[in-house]
């Protein structure tokens, strides 16, 4: 499937205490087509916890989650 090799749309939320990584993801995701892949960059621990939890509750797909040098990189695909 084409979407499996799709380049992620990067949301650079590093240094964002407010609104933070998850809110930035929601902002972008609600206007994007179903199937769009996002990669959120966040330095906020709360977002790193919240993004996977919200993704599951809202019916989207958590593709991957990594952390290096204090930056969390979380990939999410819009599913509905």
């Amino acid at each position: 499937m084409a979407q499996e090799t799709q380049e992620p749309h990067v949301i650079d939320a590093r240094g964002s205490f407010c609104p933070g990584g998850l809110m930035e993801l929601i902002k972008e995701l609600r206007l994007a087509p179903v199937g769009t892949l996002f990669e959120v960059w966040s330095t906020d621990q709360g977002s790193a916890r919240d993004i996977p939890a919200w993704t599951q509750r809202a019916g989207h797909e958590l593709v991957s989650s990594t952390a290096a040098d204090g930056v969390y990189k979380i990939q999410v695909r819009r599913m509905r």
Partner: protein, 380 residues
């Protein structure tokens, strides 16, 4: 020929940039070397934070409104007109009716707008205090309210990120004062997994909500409203019944940004987080809500960004490099009821630590509501 600086937008960001820059390059403007023009869609400047107080009948629209021309340094030329698009090739702003205003440097300070129409049913079934009309309609609904279920929902993105908490705490105290709190179930919802995007603020708010008997529902992103059934449905599957629904509407960038093809899908302009220049355009600076930056859409953000933009434009107009950098600074007062307030200050590197709420901070907030006109004048 004079170098042309055009500020598009008559809100706090655009007005602070115009006034600060006018003072910094007044000599060049007097000498005909620089021309500074502000384009504002409205002849009046509105101090929007008063909307929150209007909803509780504690402020009137006239208190928050002044003629735009009265706020501007005499070195700034004001054009009151709607801008239809930005022509980056010709470096013109095209106004309604076709008039073109040329720029060498352009500041985009067009702001954001509440977009309740993005949530099906919200316009019919909900209230908000993000416009003058909405605040007055909510005021009337609150004065007619005799008890029941009040639900607050929060759209994304939205400006003034502390407003959901402020409104909830003020409503709690307002209901107690009118003897209606026992008859009212008050529910505060929030889009993410805590009570506010600022983690220290969320930690502070949690016990306060519990102590005041305010119900909370996190991970609630308003998807639709059913005005007949009086229910609001979240994207995460939760349905909440209401008698009075108060929304922080999702916000959108302005039409001129979308029509010019210079924004993302939401109408936010891609902006360098430090230089505040539009990505890929050395001639355009972006201020306040107009940016796509992951920071609070708030008056103080626009104010602190305006300081940097005005300094860099002044530098460049005088042969410098314009190398001042924005550090992400934001300062917000937070009303914690009708008689106390706290505040938060943070930037890209330093998280906020809310202070103990006090009557003094509440009165400072009320005093700032009066002093704001010095901010727009570029003084404070």
């Amino acid at each position: 020929m004079a170098q042309e600086v055009v500020v598009l937008g008559g809100g706090v960001g655009g007005t602070v940039v115009a006034n600060q820059l006018a003072r910094a390059v007044a000599g060049q403007i007097d000498a005909g070397e620089v021309r500074l023009t502000q384009i504002s869609a409205s002849a009046h400047h509105v101090y929007q934070p008063l909307y929150l107080y209007m909803a509780f009948d504690q402020a009137n629209p006239a208190e928050g409104r002044r003629p735009q021309a009265s706020l501007l340094d005499p070195h700034v030329g004001l054009i009151t007109a709607s801008a239809e698009r930005v022509d980056r090739e010709q470096r013109d702003v095209v106004l309604a009716g076709g008039r073109r205003v040329h720029y060498d440097y352009l500041v985009l300070a067009t702001g954001s707008r509440p977009a309740p129409e993005q949530v099906p049913g919200l316009q019919e079934g909900g209230h908000w205090f993000y416009t003058e009309e909405g605040a007055l309609r909510l005021r009337d609904a609150l004065l007619a309210f005799t008890g029941g279920r009040v639900v607050l929902v929060v759209g994304v993105p939205h400006k003034c990120p502390v407003a959901p908490l402020e409104f909830t705490f003020m409503l709690d105290e307002w209901l107690r004062g009118r003897g209606l709190r026992d008859q009212t179930e008050l529910t505060y919802t929030y889009p993410i997994g805590r009570l506010h995007s600022l983690e220290p603020v969320a930690r502070w708010a949690e016990p306060v909500m519990a102590q005041r008997g305010i119900r909370t529902e996190t991970f609630f992103n308003v998807e639709r409203v059913d005005p007949q059934a009086r229910t609001v449905v979240g994207a995460e599957g939760t349905t909440l019944p209401y008698d009075l629904l108060v929304a922080i509407p999702p916000h959108s960038g302005q039409k001129v940004i979308l029509d010019s093809g210079i924004g993302d899908k939401g109408g936010w302009v891609p902006t360098d987080r430090h230089t505040l220049q539009m990505v890929g355009d050395d001639h355009i600076y972006v201020c306040g809500d107009t940016t796509n930056l992951p920071i609070s859409k708030a008056g103080s953000t626009a104010h602190f960004e305006a300081d940097v933009i005005a300094a860099n434009l002044a530098s460049r107009l005088q042969g410098g490099h314009g190398s001042a950098r924005y550090d992400g600074k934001v300062v917000c007062f937070i009303e914690t009821g009708l008689s106390k307030a706290t505040y938060v200050a943070f930037d890209y590197e330093n998280p906020p630590q809310p202070k103990e709420p006090s009557a003094l901070l509440h009165h400072m907030k009320l005093a700032y509501n009066r002093m704001y006109w010095l901010t727009s004048a570029g003084v404070l």
